[in-house]
Symmetry: C4
Subunit: 381 residues, 4 copies
């Protein structure tokens, strides 16, 4: 029995990741903006909700399959777009995509991935692929990315709106985190303590794969510098509509908390709104995703799907999100921890833990049919 088998929960996978990653890199995943209150709220507000079990129901046959943006998903989960996944495990994006395919769910590639649009598509052609785009100052560059994603068979475009500027992540500032890692004494020591990670890292150098052709990467750059150089703080709903219109397929809008913003997203044709504060990484002291969810659900009023993103750590969280009106959830750190712990089998473990937790919760709640779960499963006791 390996340590991975004995990982009972997402929290256990996080512990395994911490053991394998250099500290600055672990903290880059783990951390959030400011005092990390919103980061903690994301998980805490979900955990605080209570579910009412029902007994005497035949629950021998259970299913948690759902339709997400026009495609059947074996689980109500999507792998969230995360930059630099390849920094945590060599070929990280491909490893995660493979695990997603095996589990029958979708994978969303980040603008800031290590592996490029084309590399992921070539390596894992069978996974349902989404491409996440930030608004770039250079509109031509943005157009080229859209064209590349379309050409590589990405089905869904995910526009992330909550990164007008990069949030202040205190831990990254304190760690002087850059890409590549700047060889300071502190980081050298950290890295020396993590030989397994280092071996992989030397095999697979880190870069921003999607910018290679267009924005030559020289020297050390913090994420904040990278974002400041490339991202467009002036993008408004007009810009958003214009970019969305260029995509021939479903567009989902990520990073919305305010009901009015959700309404505007739907007005411009979004197939789904992703309620998200970027995992607490952008602005601290904003509402948790779970707290914001009901307002967005009400505003969307069934005109589009709603996904909850942020703080999902347990199968019961997925059920709670569904009860509050979400069609499915995105998960970020949970799969990155699995990835950093053990590569593709690690992500597989993340997904199997969720699958099992959801199935058991459905049984014990007396709700064999995931799609039928509604507010009545919540308890205010």
């Amino acid at each position: 029995m390996t340590a991975l088998d004995r990982a009972a929960s997402i929290a256990d996978l996080r512990r395994l990741a911490r053991r394998r990653l250099p500290r600055s890199i672990f903290e880059f995943i783990d951390g959030g903006a400011g005092d990390e209150r919103t980061l903690r709220d994301n998980a805490d507000h979900l955990a605080a909700l209570r579910l009412m079990p029902r007994v005497g129901v035949d629950v021998a046959a259970r299913s948690a399959a759902v339709d997400i943006v026009g495609r059947r998903s074996a689980l109500p989960l999507v792998l969230a777009p995360t930059g630099l996944a390849g920094l945590f495990w060599p070929g990280g994006e491909m490893a995660a995509a493979r695990a997603a395919q095996a589990a029958g769910i979708s994978f969303c590639l980040s603008t800031n991935s290590v592996a490029s649009i084309e590399e992921v598509a070539a390596a894992v052609p069978g996974v349902d692929r989404w491409f996440q785009l930030y608004f770039l100052k250079d509109e031509a560059l943005m157009d080229r990315m859209l064209a590349r994603a379309a050409a590589s068979g990405y089905r869904v475009l995910c526009l992330t709106l909550d990164l007008a500027v990069q949030g202040r992540r205190d831990r990254d500032i304190r760690n002087a985190f850059t890409v590549p890692l700047r060889p300071r004494l502190k980081t050298v020591l950290e890295v020396a303590l993590r030989p397994a990670w280092l071996a992989g890292f030397l095999r697979a150098p880190v870069r921003f794969g999607n910018f290679e052709a267009d924005a030559p990467q020289t020297g050390f750059s913090s994420m904040a510098q990278h974002v400041a150089k490339l991202c467009d703080a002036s993008a408004n709903w007009g810009t958003i509509a214009r970019v969305a219109a260029k995509w021939h397929g479903p567009v989902v809008i990520k990073g919305v908390l305010a009901p009015d913003d959700a309404r505007r997203a739907v007005d411009l044709g979004a197939a789904a709104v992703i309620v998200s504060n970027h995992g607490g990484r952008q602005l601290d002291h904003v509402p948790s995703a779970a707290a914001a969810l009901p307002g967005v659900v009400e505003a969307v009023a069934g005109r589009a799907q709603v996904l909850l993103d942020g703080g999902v750590r347990r199968g019961t969280d997925v059920i709670k999100a569904k009860a509050l009106g979400a069609d499915a959830c995105m998960i970020g750190r949970p799969f990155l921890w699995g990835l950093a712990a053990a590569g593709e089998p690690g992500v597989a473990r993340t997904l199997s833990i969720f699958a099992e937790e959801i199935a058991i919760a459905q049984a014990l709640l007396g709700r064999p049919d995931f799609a039928a779960i509604d507010r009545s499963v919540l308890s205010d006791l």
Copy 2:
């Protein structure tokens, strides 16, 4: 003065149990599902209630005797059904049953006991015996168990409904807990540190006593595997009614939190409904037993008795449960800790602590008559 005499509280007995048991086994008792929030809520929600004392009342003569399912009990307590009690102390089921008899209360044997239905009855014929049954896939096997329990003079049948599947107990997964303990390096070390427990364990090998004839036990099995193999996730209210009808005596229904489920249990003739989330061991994030109690009491509306099960740790908890409408309480871990600490005298200590705490609370609350305690003893200050 022994350590047992100096144990002032149930929490002290827990500490003694921790010192005597191998860690995996202690955690099998102590742990719960998931993040153990419901487990903590069970105790916390009781503890958070406040009682209003009255003075100037003659409290020289006090009694806490009550009728439970048609029989006078010296205390408003029943020993809850718990699997594998014989793993914590050699002959654990018999030891607990003897202490129950001495204290004038009832003992409920679990489906998953080490000692069989017949062994317990033969060894402790004088105790009021209940038999707890899970719904088994093999209906004939279930019928045989009912017949054996009836033949061995068990008075009450306790049907536990909240185990359609086994909950995920993270600690057991992490500990790779199996029956018998799989001899991994970690468990070998744990066990080596607990020679007193080991000596008893070698004398009295652990098995599922009630299944011996029917389901030969070979190799190592986790509780989850054992349950998955035997228990029937398809049991519904029809099945329940059918099984209940086979018992010639009082049937009590254990594992209900939702008022509507309580109503159905009473409709099919239950003599008592046991408000319980299985001690927080099945699904985390469900309401605490104390929070669910008032809703069940209202739904039952006097047509059956109501027992509270889960989180009872103090005499005041028993009084609070009574004030919220419960007729009595079941206790699980409190007696297992006593048992693991010192066998029969340990369980006796558990019960004498409760008896003394209840008596003192009655005196200081100005409520010498337990049966007369109602909501007016609660305070919202």
Copy 3:
């Protein structure tokens, strides 16, 4: 500058007491019943209240003098009756009484004092003396005590009603605390580590001074045994009225939380009702004194004085109690900590800290006249 001078707060005096007392004895003072929730609530509920400061008020001249049960007190404080004060410092009762006299406040002697009624009166004739009485099984003995207290010039009789039986104080049970200390290995070690205390202890042996003539003390006795032997659990409002009628002077009733009990106390002529849960030492999980205060104030409706007892640790607590309708406060542990730390100067320090904290709070709240403080000083912000 001594450690006593540098003690900035009551909490600092507690730390000094901890350093000087054997652990079991420190815990006898410090501890409470059960899980000590009510003990903590007593202080926490006072601390949680907020006061609204006013500026631009001439506060050069301030006074906190008040009338308590017919006598002018320099501070709105009374030293609470506490058993065994002589165990914490040789001649503890006399030391405390002297400090009370010096500070211009009253001192209440406990039934269970080390120094007898007569010894205290002889040693500190100038202090305003109250005598606290428990209800004893032996009515003649009670009559003799009343006669002795009257003969020795005690002005006020304080009847404590919340000790029908002794509460379970888990720490004392765990420590096997007895009077005198039973010489177990553990206590011998504890005592050896506290030579200063031991020296005083050898000079002044501990006994229940008021029972010497009547109840010969032989061997080791826990407080619970002492109380069980002597106290009368059958005392009711009739008994109380009969005993109160025997006293020619003001009678105050201590240990009331329920408004109806306060009303009955006033009906039988009490000059003051002391809202108290015995400092959290009798029954855990009852309301804090502060939470119970407003209900009692309303019930008493000005027909008697009301004193708050329990959890007073800061000058602001005294002001809060006044704002909630109390005329003054009793303090128990705060003066015992001072006493245990340094004898009479220690108690003097307790009182000077309170005096200074009250005076500063009056200045900064813009309330130079203590008597005029009312609810308007409280803020719900």
Copy 4:
């Protein structure tokens, strides 16, 4: 990259200050009155508020400039008056004033500064200077100070009303903190561990610069003694009006929490009311500045400006204060920590952290114009 560059937050600067200052001096800055609940509430109540981000807004151009008491300020911040700044860094008042000037904000000198009114004016003529005055017993001395401040070009008079007497700061009492530090063994050791601070301290002896001519400073004096000797506890609204009338320029009133006091301040012509509890240093258990703010804003009703003072630690706090109706904020400890850590560059770092945090928050909240921020940015989720 220096430690100062890597300081990501005000909390990081606090840690640097702790490393450089002798403990008693660090605690003199850090500490508050009593149990420091109000001190904690100040920061906690701001932190607990939630902000609702809006997306799809062009935030490329952002400004946080505001008018404060008739002058344009580059940031909505004023450096609060703090006594003894020169004790934390040689020439501390000048260093802070210079950093304020560089950042385009105002600096308020304390009555109890080390550097005198004239020294600061001479050294940093370009900064917008405010002078803070306590009410002194010696009215002629007060008049002289006003005249000196006017002659030295201080623009605004800040009358602090919440120091009728000095609050009890338990840590200072425990540390026996005096000016100069009394050379006890404990302080000698503390100081020996902080050679960098000591070197500066020897260069720049500490004194109360504004009292030199009038109140010769001999021997050791605690702040409480200093205040008791000089400050006038009898000052009332009449005195306040009289003193305010002597100043030819804007008068601001600091230390108000009660709406009625704010109203009186405005009635006598205050240009601004500073909602403050003196950073939790005067009376513990009073409302936090943030909790008191809305009441004051309502009472002032636009007739004067309102500044929030106390607990501001993050850019988001400044935005929250604005949302609750404050025109700007004062900061005390945040700039003192920067100062103690590194002198002028340290204060500059404090201000650049605030500037950057505010700018990022404006971007991510979709509020490029600080002046337009109102309650709608707050969320009750």
